[in-house]
């Protein structure tokens, strides 16, 4: 370990370390964040949901968006996997179908940033535990 020699050192250190804690900080108040859920049941994983989720996490970090990405079980749209649900604060959730890496980035750029809807929206009619 290197010594922390000054107040500035400490601030820098904190910034470096924050990322890993961010996920826990955000979980304290998810309602104020964009909540992104990736369906990750067998069908989802088979259709590449894991790659999509990774892409979303990367993109959000890059764009510095206050969002939290979680996974969820099968939403019942196995035909349209991978599916991604996005819930913006104060809005109803929206579910996107056939999401791949490219579409994932579009979701962030268009829907999350600018509230533009994309193709392939599914009705959100399920209950989660």
């Amino acid at each position: 370990m290197t010594k922390i020699k000054s107040l500035d050192d400490l601030r820098q250190k904190k910034q470096q370390l924050e990322q890993n804690m961010e996920i826990r900080e955000k979980s304290d108040h998810p309602e104020s964040l964009v909540q992104i859920k990736v369906a990750m049941a067998t069908c989802g994983i088979a259709s590449g949901a894991r790659t999509v989720m990774n892409a979303l996490v990367e993109k959000i970090k890059k764009e510095n968006i206050a969002a939290v990405v979680t996974q969820t079980g099968c939403m019942g749209y196995c035909y349209a996997e991978p599916t991604v649900e996005v819930k913006k604060p104060g809005q109803d959730p929206v579910v996107f179908s056939y999401v791949d890496v490219k579409k994932a980035e579009e979701i962030v750029d268009k829907y999350i940033r600018n509230n533009e809807l994309l193709d392939g929206i599914l009705p959100a009619n399920y209950q989660t535990i």
């Binding site: 290197t2 107040l7 250190k13 990322q19 890993n20 998810p30 994983i45 969820t72």
Partner: protein
């Protein structure tokens, strides 16, 4: 970067239920499923909800798994982490609606809580200083020693209204100020971590869950009062807390957050541990200091106070763990923020160890001014097995019992004293209709008699005599005069004992005499214990309609008090019966009635 984290409680309670094995198993499963890049297992401090431990919390969706066993690890990983399906059977079940609650924020236990002292417990890995720093750790210390004079810093603590969480509630800022005024070549900051109240474990949880906050606060205190040396007096019975605190001290030293010229300033501070050895009285500050000096932990008369004449006769400031845990937050969020919480004279929050006949046993932190009703029924989930609430004991052996009529009192230091109890370190034991209050008073007195140091007469002899009177009463041999003697002894012991332990030792008796006088009278006059706890007062009879005449009771009765023909109802001769209860435990047909 991890997308998910699994926080596993590593507090003493959960570790007792194999939480360390759970961590191992979770890691194995993550590895088997190739998820080590995506999810991370973190051992944290106590979540507080000990009743339902061990706890595993999945982040970021806040899924709160309760009573997890090591064999559940695979399912959590395979279902939840891999496929996103929550494991329903491990979720907390709302006792009223029987519905599963997955998000801890929606659990009654957490809804009314406000975590300041426990802010990092259950959130960070206590063995990793980086996680503490990431949560603004040591920022308060950095700010204080870089930008503030000791006077300014003390002023902020004074403005915050923080009072000592160890018992009597002495204003912390004032205490620091007094110690800062004495000049000496060496001064000491002492952290009292000799938590001894039976049924209180908040200090241990803080030390286990967030040891760095104590180090930071002690360093701040050292800067304020002009001390370069800190000592933590910690119970030897807390091996995990000792281990984690030592790790934190080592890490802080490596980062230069302890040692010479911290953060490039002229302020130097270092600390070491001193172990207690099993003496409740060492919670009293002068006894604690004697113990740290390697002597018998006997309190001495004050004045002089430790602020003037403390450890090795040097000016010494003693605060307890929870008090220190509040300090960094005061600087991070400002004294105004802190003083906006709580009541007029008691600011901030208080951690309570909620235990006894209550559904949700655990560690809770609530704003001062909350009512007992909120704590017991909303956070605590009510009385276990639907029984009737009888009393709640606060403040441990120094406190008293509060009853139904106190349920809506806003709790703070002063209201508890006014009600005949005290905050103490924050043990809160809930009793139901099955608890005999005379026995409870006796229980606390037994504790006091065992823990009295023996230095002063009232505590050494007086408490022993009070205990003898209570024993006599519980055996059905008491008379009304005994109650008078008991009351007089209690007042004199309170009035004349040397230290705080002795002065408060009659509180359990005085408060039960005040609030449950009828129970004492029932024991003394009617020779009855309606809670059926005092064996000698129990009356055993056989219900003839239920008795099958199996003769088991008669054969097992040690004094041959039971007579009866085979296959005929039996009968207990009350003159011979010694109330041992053997018949009651042996009867397979519930034919023995205890009154």
């Amino acid at each position: 970067m991890y997308k998910m984290q699994l926080l596993v409680c590593g507090g003493t309670g959960c570790r007792a239920s194999a939480s360390a094995t759970i961590v191992e198993k979770l890691n194995e499963s993550l590895k088997a499923h190739g998820l080590t890049e995506d999810a991370q297992v973190v051992t944290t401090g106590c979540f507080g909800f000990c009743e339902k431990g061990p706890i595993v919390k999945v982040i970021p969706d806040n899924t709160f798994y309760t009573q997890v066993r090591p064999e559940d690890a695979e399912e959590i990983v395979a279902e939840h982490i891999l496929k996103g399906r929550k494991v329903a059977r491990l979720l907390y079940e709302n006792p009223e609606t029987q519905e599963h609650v997955s998000d801890s924020r929606h659990m009654g236990f957490y809804q009314k809580q406000m975590r300041i002292a426990l802010r990092n417990c259950g959130v960070i890995d206590p063995e990793n200083i980086d996680e503490y720093i990431a949560r603004e750790g040591y920022s308060a210390l950095a700010q204080v020693i870089s930008d503030l004079t000791p006077e300014q810093a003390i002023d902020m603590v004074k403005q915050s209204g923080l009072r000592g969480r160890g018992g009597a509630g002495f204003p912390t800022g004032l205490k620091w100020e007094i110690t800062s005024k004495f000049s000496s070549d060496q001064k000491y900051v002492v952290c009292n971590a000799d938590e001894g109240d039976p049924g209180a474990f908040m200090d241990r949880s803080i030390l286990e869950g967030d040891p760095n906050t104590i180090i930071e606060a002690m360093a701040i205190c050292g800067y304020c009062i002009g001390a370069s040396k800190g000592l933590v007096y910690i119970r030897a019975e807390y091996p995990l807390a000792i281990k984690r605190l030592q790790i934190a001290i080592n890490q802080a030293r490596e980062y230069g957050l302890l040692g010479d010229k911290i953060l490039g300033t002229n302020f130097s501070f270092d600390m070491e541990l001193r172990y207690g050895a099993g003496a409740f009285v060492c919670g009293e500050e002068t006894a604690l200091i004697a113990s740290m000096e390697g002597k018998r932990g006997e309190p001495r008369f004050k004045p002089p106070f430790p602020a003037e004449d403390g450890y090795l006769h040097k000016p010494t400031n003693v605060n307890n763990v929870e008090t220190f845990a509040n300090v960094p937050v005061i600087f991070l969020k400002g004294p105004e923020w802190f003083s906006s919480i709580g009541t007029e004279k008691s600011k901030g929050t208080k951690v309570f160890a909620l235990a006894g006949k209550i559904n949700n046993v655990g560690l809770i932190e609530v704003p001062m001014g909350i009512t007992l009703r909120e704590i017991i029924y909303e956070i605590g989930g009510g009385i276990k097995n639907g029984k009737k609430f009888k009393a709640v004991q606060t403040g441990g052996p120094s406190g008293g019992c509060l009853t139904e009529k106190h349920l809506d009192t806003a709790i703070d230091f002063d209201s508890l004293v006014a009600a005949g109890s005290m905050m103490g370190s924050g043990g809160m034991i809930v009793m139901d209709e099955d608890d005999c209050m005379v026995s409870i008073a006796k229980f606390y007195l037994e504790f006091i008699v065992e823990e009295s140091c023996g230095k002063c007469t009232p505590c050494r002899v007086g408490n022993k005599r009070m205990l003898e009177i209570l024993e006599k009463i519980c055996q059905g041999k008491g008379n009304m005069e005994d109650l008078d003697h008991l009351r007089n002894l209690a007042y004199v012991i309170k009035d004349t004992s040397l230290c705080g332990l002795g002065q408060t030792s009659p509180n359990p008796i005085l408060s039960t005499l005040e609030n449950f006088n009828d129970e004492y009278i029932a024991h003394v006059k009617d020779k009855r214990c309606y809670a059926k706890q005092c064996k000698a007062l129990a009356r055993y009879t056989i219900i003839p309609e239920v008795c099958t005449g199996c003769t088991v009771c008669a054969r097992n009765c040690p004094v041959e008090a039971i007579t009866g023909e085979r296959r005929q109802p039996h009968f207990i001769n009350q003159d011979i019966c010694i109330h041992c209860g053997v018949c009651y435990t042996k009867c397979k047909f519930n034919a023995i009635l205890v009154q």
